[in-house]
Amino acid sequence: MMYARLMKIFLKENFSLRRLLGTDLRKNKGKAILLGLVILYALGAFLFTFGYMFFDFGKLLAPLGAIDILLLYIFLFTMAVSLILVLFRANGYLFRYKDFEILQPLPIKTRTVLFAKATVMMIMNYAGLCIFIAPIAFSYFYFNGFAIVTFLLFVVAFLLIPLLPMIVFSFISLLIARITARFRKSNILTIILLFVVFMGIMALSLSINYGGDLNPLMSIRELVDQIKGVYLPMAWFMDAIHNHDLLSLLFLALVNVVPFYLFLIVVQKLTTKTNQMGLSVVTRKNTKAVKSQSRPLFETLVIKEFRKFINVPSYAVNAGFGPVFLFLAGVLGLIFKNKLPGLFGYIEASGIGINAQIVVLVFVAFCLSTVYTTAITLSLEGKNFWIIKSAPIKPSLIMNAKLVFNLFLGLPFAFFALILLSVGLSFPLLDFFVLVLFSAAFALLTSVIGSIINLHFPKFDFINDIEVVKQSIGAMIGVLSGFGIIVIDGVGVFFLQKLISWELALVIISVFDLVVFQILFLVLNRTSDKIFVKLAG
């Protein structure tokens, strides 16, 4: 059967360990051990934060007989994560796949190819979704009691629900690609549109979640009943699993499988057409005089990084989310500056021992953690790696340029947010400078760690940029290391402020971060020359 043959090839192409990890672990035991530790750390960090949160939530809901609310979260997470993944992947997997020229001349039905491509994309999505929903599902089954029937119903229902978002957001992905293709600066426009879509979704979800009720639990219960009435697939999902309602499962199957099948039929011609359009090259003559520009080498390398960033939408959107958040937080902080003291006063009065300055700082550090270009930018050189490798440039200089770009991307926005939020919250000037010092130290440390990670875990062999940006080991460790530093620094400040003021504690932690940065920076510069030549780009 042709579908099975295609799947065999596609799965091998997309899911081999070497492709996923970007390295052959059998050849490097050191890397294998390091990778194992990192995965353990990631798993631990995830379970102790996200997992614990939902386990605790389950413990709270179970006595109230409202454990099915966890199913609501599973549904919402599945929908939200699916749409983000599909938005980035659909174009590369369905409408502009790189092996079109190989597959098209073969005697295989377009529908079969499309079905196989959609299956691979969905497997990729299910794998990503499992990470998010496994802890919630665990909490649900732990407190509700495990039954094989419930579990089977859960698996079937879970496999069904991402199909609708896949259809809708595949079309949105295609629409964005088609609209932006008409413009000269199409990549920048794509980035803007993707940000608009994401911000729109976030604004929508926030506006739904705000019930105005002081009892958050009641608010959720009411919300469940409301959404159950408004969006029937969610009601069917919850009833199918929690009440073993097979009719609901049937409805759920019908509303997802039938449109999915129709989608595959309808989209066949579109897929062929968009792929064919991708092959044709239209080169317009440009009468504008060609003028060369000369720059110092280091500046040239940093500009190259910037150009790469704004020309790869998935890269810009994922690594640029933090700066956008910081910018928005700063602006909104100033606009709503009258409401801020009340909000932060509520946090301080809650007795958890955190002041407004620390809350702002955690937010800024979190956003800076998501600026992880150093962890992936070497990988993104991909097939172009030969250019810098054969050029007379010291590898350490290349790595330093990548590091500086990461700082340029995050720090100005962090400072901008800190200035406006400090004004809005009337922070003393000394506090402001302490916050700035910590942010700078944190950004330097996370940037250099990202560089070292990418140097040791590059992934040059990729088909779509998104494989590096979201699925590579570098990306995973890059972001998680930032979160890890927040925790380590937080623990340090927590214990130090028992002895000294929080400001002084933060200065000491900042100096500690700067010292670690300096050591790692030296390591980076010393090792990059040796490692570069061994990298097989």
Partner: protein, 237 residues
């Protein structure tokens, strides 16, 4: 001068892609490198350019080892790969400026050479466009111009004529001859034996990682064709 001294390279630790290769290429030489697919041509070219590491031996470029003094060696090298993978997000002129900055070419000279080669290869009108909008041949041309504008002393090219139209191929050969007359050495791989026979003063034939013949083209060919010699050498065990 380019000296390749006993270079060996294995990808899997079992089979040698390059097996103790010794070659010496002097200023003004146009050296053709011939071999069947998988013979080790690209591996050797990438090793010389410092793109891949090799297991044994050394490569000296104007006396500088690519292993111990890579920057000094690379300053005089231009490498053109078999597949023109370039930064597609840049415009043609941005890519050439990048190369110009890397090799510290003075702006006046850079502008002159960009204009000269862009007009020669007929891509001046598209230099302001993104490389992603270029055809395969145009990409090949932009990589070639990027290699030519810093007037390298050593040019390493992997199948440089593939993808070029007949006029561009002819012009490139003329550029090669002109550069060699000024002392540049050119070492390139090719499958087109006629090109090697007519253009190169020296050739080397590689088979399963080993050089099986090398020297003056006329001495190797004698009264046969290069194709006959190549087929004969390939047949021999």
């Amino acid at each position: 001068m380019l000296q390749i001294k006993g270079v060996s390279k294995s990808y899997d630790g079992k089979h040698l892609a390059c097996n103790k290769i010794d070659l010496e290429i002097k200023e003004g030489d146009i050296y053709g490198f011939i071999g069947h697919n998988g013979a080790g041509k690209t591996t050797l070219l990438k090793s010389i350019a410092g793109i891949i590491d090799f297991d044994a031996g050394d490569v000296l470029i104007n006396g500088h080892s690519i292993r111990t003094e890579p920057l000094e060696a690379k300053k005089v090298i231009a490498y053109v790969p078999d597949n023109p993978n370039v930064y597609e997000s840049l415009t043609g002129i941005q890519y050439l400026d990048f190369m110009g900055d890397v090799f510290a070419i003075a702006l006046d000279k850079r502008q002159h050479l960009v204009d000269k080669y862009a007009q020669m290869f007929e891509i001046a009108a598209v230099l302001n466009n993104p490389i992603s909008s270029y055809s395969h041949g145009m990409k090949q041309k932009i990589v070639l111009i990027g290699a030519l504008i810093h007037e390298p002393k050593v040019m390493l090219l992997d199948e440089p004529f593939v993808g070029l139209d007949p006029k561009a191929s002819y012009l490139l050969k003329e550029v090669f001859k002109d550069m060699c007359s000024k002392g540049t050495l050119i070492f390139f791989s090719t499958h087109v034996l006629e090109v090697a026979e007519k253009l190169c003063n020296k050739v080397a034939i590689i088979k399963q990682g080993k050089i099986v013949a090398n020297g003056n083209t006329l001495d190797i060919v004698k009264d046969h064709s290069l194709e006959d010699i190549f087929m004969e050498l390939i047949k021999e065990s």
